[in-house]
Symmetry: C2
Subunit: 251 residues, 2 copies
Amino acid sequence: MSEPTVTACVLIIGNEILSGRTQDINLNHIAVTLGEWGIRVREARVIPDVEDIVVAAVNETRSAYDYVFTTGGIGPTHDDITADCIARAFGVELVTSPEIAAIIEQRPAPPDVMKSRMRMARIPDGATLVENLTGGPQGFRMDNVFVLAGIPRVMQAMLASLEGKLRGGKVIQSRSVTAYLGESQIAGDLGRIQDRYPDIDLGSYPFLRGDRYGTSLVMRGTDETELEAMLEEVKSAIVAAGETPQDVQQG
Amino acid sequence: MSEPTVTACVLIIGNEILSGRTQDINLNHIAVTLGEWGIRVREARVIPDVEDIVVAAVNETRSAYDYVFTTGGIGPTHDDITADCIARAFGVELVTSPEIAAIIEQRPAPPDVMKSRMRMARIPDGATLVENLTGGPQGFRMDNVFVLAGIPRVMQAMLASLEGKLRGGKVIQSRSVTAYLGESQIAGDLGRIQDRYPDIDLGSYPFLRGDRYGTSLVMRGTDETELEAMLEEVKSAIVAAGETPQDVQQG
């Protein structure tokens, strides 16, 4: 009996990504990491630091996916509104986490600075903490929503602390092979092969290396036997098109 | 009288982004380019190559934003379904564009290969073409939806061809200044400054360079006089916190 797919959505909260000031790298890290845990990211949204928009996105996605991961907006400044938004989305109050407050108080500061820092100790009533292996203030979990930092190094430390604590389905395996030929030269065969293996996702990704065009063919699915059989068919299609399959990889 | 804000949404269509295989760089380029044209990206979604999901996302976003830009899924293989999805979203048939077909036919190929390539000539009935400065098959525009390639070099060439052809609002200007202090050391002042300039967006972005923590303060808005005044207040706040404002930039 096949295990059901476990799904996730990533909400990237931050004007700086939408303005183009900052290149997001968090989605990629989260997608790869969750994939290794058997959780499939099915959607990601980049949204601005606007309370109504964040609340609506959280409520829409937390009912549509098994897990939701947010990044950004949990620092000490006025534009850090993620905790407020999660509380509103769940219809609960914000409370002060004594554990986070204790970490914040370890570093002495004038009252005005400490007051700002204490914004980071506010969590929705009922939330539990997500460890922060960098030693800074923790993130938190509210039901199926995980609220992580936006700074990649900190986000990665928080996500790492969740390993083994989430429900995962079968881990997606992959095979890939490269051919120095145009996509259209094997497109017909690829379509027919895909039709024969409906449970394996066959993607074709053209590239240009130096002055040579080529195509990476990537197969993703949970059944190793099917993956191997499909890989052989794809390699045969490459040979039939007059080229040599290269750089076969498995992941 | 202030011009209304012109908004955009970016739909990044592709399993390879959601699986983590590929790091998206298209959103960043589109956000920066549209910003220079006076168009604000207010949301971005990364969605899989699944027809129902793409159709729903296109219909939801094309009514909510002035413009929608899609990337990906317009190649010659079975997983390139964007044209089909746009046609379905608008309730029209796919037709063959003679202009795209002519470009495709310039390169001779066996019938099977040509047939696959001709997938790229299919556009929704009523669409107009988006030039492709690389010389390859064009993208297309359907009402307020622009359908661009996924390969960054090709996407950029298509987007560049739209310069001067879109309606833009006032261009967003920015000022930024860096301080080697923790965000919380000026968080109180920043909140008060933000309150005094509701039309300027003041963002605070912490960073770690070598072993020094710092914060980049970024102001974005359309009124240069307000931006300059706010910048001076932010610089004063940095000085009041005992640090020196550094790396002042304008963009």
